[in-house]
């Protein structure tokens, strides 16, 4: 893998802009530290997914810069993609492949040595409880199993950064717990996780820092307490407010300001 000197920031975004028929991302600045669990919150249509899709190279920004572990992702997208994994809300797996074949394919896409990839794939399959289904085609799998296969695909090439878009949508409790464990362990091992979610409880419990995006801009960022302080200006008991209250207050402030 093309590892550079370990920079302080896993992702550094400056003045990022993307318009479709109206601005979707409007001068966004965002810096996510290495080894951090970062959650992006925002109302529907705020620009979360568009931002992340630009980071992983699925969309080209109109303006701005994106640095991934010190690599300019727009100038050298291949090197940037090498250290990232992207998991969207719909698990990206092939119905007609088995989990084992899928992991082999993903390993090949990232240019991982076959023997190393196979050993890692076997380990992941066991770890995620996919052992009995390793050689069954994914077409009959439940959403939870699909998400686990996708997660295994993301981990098989040992990325430094995992980026997830709404990973818990439609997962049952057991599967969600397992995905959370995987993500926590990735962070514990020094990796970075960036995730969008609408499940505020997940953000509250798991994230080191939370960023709130509205109208394509980062309107607030920090730990839960920092966000509460920011949202609580003038409110009666900001320290006791939930993330939900905090989030709604921040978004409402932004709407008033706009």
């Amino acid at each position: 893998m093309s590892m550079r000197a370990d920079p302080a920031f896993a992702i550094e975004i400056r003045e990022l802009r993307k318009s479709f028929e109206r601005p979707a991302v409007d001068g966004l600045d965002l810096a996510i530290r290495s080894g951090e669990f970062y959650t992006l919150l925002g109302p529907n249509g705020a620009g979360k997914s568009t931002t992340l899709r630009m980071v992983v190279g699925l969309l080209r920004p109109d303006a701005g810069s994106i640095c991934v572990l010190g690599i300019d992702a727009l100038a050298d997208p291949v090197a940037a993609k090498q250290v990232m994994a992207w998991i969207s809300d719909e698990p990206m797996i092939y119905d007609k492949l088995t989990p084992f074949e899928y992991l082999e394919f993903v390993g090949g896409l990232w240019g991982i040595d076959a023997a190393h990839a196979e050993a890692r794939a076997r380990g992941l399959i066991e770890w995620l409880g996919l052992g009995p289904h390793a050689h069954q085609r994914c077409e009959s799998f439940s959403k939870g199993m699909r998400q686990k296969v996708a997660l295994a695909g993301a981990l098989v090439h040992e990325p430094r950064i995992i980026i997830l878009d709404e990973p818990f949508t439609g997962l049952d409790t057991g599967s969600a717990r397992q995905v959370k464990t995987v993500l926590r362990e990735h962070v514990a091992a020094g990796g970075t996780v960036i995730m969008t979610t609408h499940i505020l409880e997940v953000a509250e419990r798991m994230a080191d820092r939370i960023g709130v995006i509205a109208r394509g801009r980062l309107i607030a960022q920090g730990t839960l307490d920092e966000l509460r302080r920011q949202a609580g200006n003038g409110s009666s008991s900001p320290q006791n407010s939930s993330l939900e209250d905090t989030f709604l207050a921040l978004v409402a402030e932004e709407a008033v300001a706009a």
Partner: protein
């Protein structure tokens, strides 16, 4: 084994998926034994050879250097085939642009995107060639058996035509994409593909009718003016025809030219394909909002009817499909007009054409009604006790009746009756209450709106309630099997197994997932904050391709119903 990331490695991956897809489709999802499929295939091939023998054996003696009339006829046939191949290839290329499928995975990986797309374009060419070879094969074999091995050169001509069609389709679609933008390009490409496929044959028929008063296309080709206009027998124009007849030099030249064209298309388009796909991902259908005066008060029946018309009008697939069916009606209409133009009753001539049009439209709408997924939605709506006698097949006919004539609608009533029978046989059908939803089927359920606001029969008039239901689910990007199961480019990716059927004739998919996710992936873009899809509803696209009935204008409601039932879901969601 090939090294990961190389062209051969991607080709192997594509081939493996295509083969498994084909096998799955051929064995109806594993329900049919492979041996049965092989036997059926053999029988099909044998029958095709018999048909071919009856049709073309008398031409087997055609010399390698025939006269001008034969060259004109062969070239016209080749052009006809090419236009059909082009139509098929354009459809595939459009789908490749707009289908997210596995592009998220591939484009977020450090693999070389141009290699992936080069393989995909080659796959489109191969699939076009394979389809053409399958259809033309029996004819070529019969000609070779009767007239000599030189006829086998026609296989080379088929390959050349497939490569040319794929190259043209790639060029045409990319040009459309760049000139009119990704949003409009999809609909236009669909219409162009349909028109290209139909225009040549219809044009020939119209010319034949105008000159000879017959539907025979070849009559006009053999006419003196055409032969006089055609270039000399030695002209380059006839090289494709000569290639088909087994002229080695012509075949080599035509093959080389077509493969060069395909190669050029791949080299030029593959590196930009990722950009096009990314642009397609940003497509939304938001339009300039129209000023709406406010709610228009009307009776429940009128409200539902208005909603139906709005949905129909906004369904580009339905519009283009209907237009194509109408296009195929032109030759018979023209023939009637030619035959009776002096009868002083030209208005009367409209009647049979309108009857045909209404019949086709009725068939299409019946099919849509039957293929609706949302019996749960219907079941969940308030229904008066005993109101479940009439089903949606009849509702579709209601629409058709509004459109044109009772004659068309009458044809569809057969569906109604048939459905009623099958519903009893199968236990639950479209519009029935599902036992999982209703503990006491037959009783009215306390779900708004109450019976005095919208009567059950009015609600059941809403054929496209189901389409609405599916659309809304589609927007959330969940739970849908999508796309054409026969598409060799399809990638079964993402999503999860189909929802369990809530009633008899639901829509099942083929395991094709996450196509058309482009818009779903780009949640924020619509002016109303929503996403929507273009073109055929993927379930419908799968169904229509599966039956190929409506597309060819030969919709028989009962046959369509049979298709729907045969593909009704069997398994449970896990």
């Amino acid at each position: 084994m090939s090294r990961p990331g190389t062209l051969a490695w991607f080709a192997r991956h594509e081939f493996r998926l295509a083969w498994r897809d084909w096998l799955w489709m051929a064995t109806a999802g594993g329900r049919t034994k492979l041996r049965t499929v092989a036997i059926a295939l053999l029988i099909f091939v044998a029958v095709m050879h018999l048909i071919a023998y009856g049709m073309v054996s008398r031409y087997a003696g055609l010399a390698v250097h025939p006269d001008k009339a034969a060259l004109v006829a062969i070239t016209a046939s080749a052009l006809l085939s090419l236009s059909l191949m082009l139509s098929q290839a354009m459809e595939s290329v459009t789908r490749a642009f707009y289908t997210r499928s596995d592009l998220d995975l591939l484009l977020s990986s450090p693999a070389q995107a141009p290699k992936i797309f080069a393989v995909r374009i080659a796959t489109i060419a191969l699939s076009v060639v394979a389809m053409a070879a399958l259809l033309a094969g029996p004819f070529i074999n019969v000609l070779a058996a009767e007239g000599g091995a030189h006829w086998l050169g026609a296989y080379g001509a088929v390959v050349a035509m497939g490569a040319t069609a794929a190259a043209l389709a790639v060029g045409l679609t990319t040009a459309l994409f760049r000139t009119i933008g990704p949003r409009r390009a999809r609909l236009v490409a669909q219409i162009v593909a349909a028109v290209i496929g139909a225009a040549f044959v219809i044009g020939l028929q119209l010319a034949a009718i105008a000159s000879n008063g017959t539907l025979s296309r070849y009559a006009v080709l053999a006419s003196a003016p055409i032969l006089a206009l055609a270039p000399d027998a030695g002209s380059l124009v006839w090289w494709p025809a000569r290639a088909m007849l087994g002229d080695g030099l012509a075949l080599a030249a035509v093959l080389a030219a077509s493969l060069l064209m395909l190669g050029a298309a791949i080299v030029m388009v593959a590196p930009r394909f990722a950009d096009c796909a990314a642009a397609a991902a940003g497509v939304t259908r938001s339009r300039r909002p129209r000023a709406v005066a406010g709610f228009r008060g009307a009776s429940p029946m009128e409200t539902l009817r208005r909603k139906e018309w709005t949905l129909l009008r906004r369904d580009p697939w339905l519009v283009s499909q209907t237009l194509m069916q109408m296009l195929y009606l032109l030759p018979p209409a023209f023939l009637l007009w030619r035959s009776f133009e002096n009868a002083n009753a030209s208005v009367v001539l409209l009647v049979p054409v309108l009857v045909m049009a209404a019949g086709q439209l009725a068939g299409g709408l019946a099919w849509l009604a039957i293929s609706g997924e949302g019996p749960d939605r219907h079941g969940a709506a308030h229904r008066a006790p005993g109101g479940g006698r009439q089903d949606r097949g009849g509702d579709g006919m209601h629409c058709a009746g509004v459109c044109a004539l009772h004659a068309g609608a009458g044809a569809g009533r057969g569906v109604s009756r048939h459905r009623r029978r099958t519903r009893h046989r199968r236990g639950c059908g479209v519009g029935d209450r599902h036992s999982a939803l209703f503990s006491r089927p037959g009783q009215a359920q306390p779900v708004s709106p109450p019976a005095d606001v919208v009567a059950g029969r009015d609600l059941r008039r809403g054929v496209f309630l189901d389409r609405l239901g599916r659309r809304s689910r589609t927007r959330r990007g969940r739970n849908l099997d999508r796309g054409d199961p026969r598409d060799p480019c399809r990638r079964d990716i993402g999503g999860h197994p189909p929802r369990p059927p809530a009633g008899g004739v639901g829509v099942t998919g083929s395991g094709f997932r996450r196509t058309d996710q482009s818009i779903d992936c780009m949640k924020p873009m619509g002016s109303d904050g929503s996403n929507s899809t273009h073109g055929p509803h993927p379930d419908e696209a799968a169904r229509i391709t599966a039956s190929r009935r409506t597309g060819t204008g030969t919709t028989l409601p009962v046959a369509v119903l049979r298709d729907a039932q045969e593909s009704a879901p069997q398994g449970d969601d896990r």
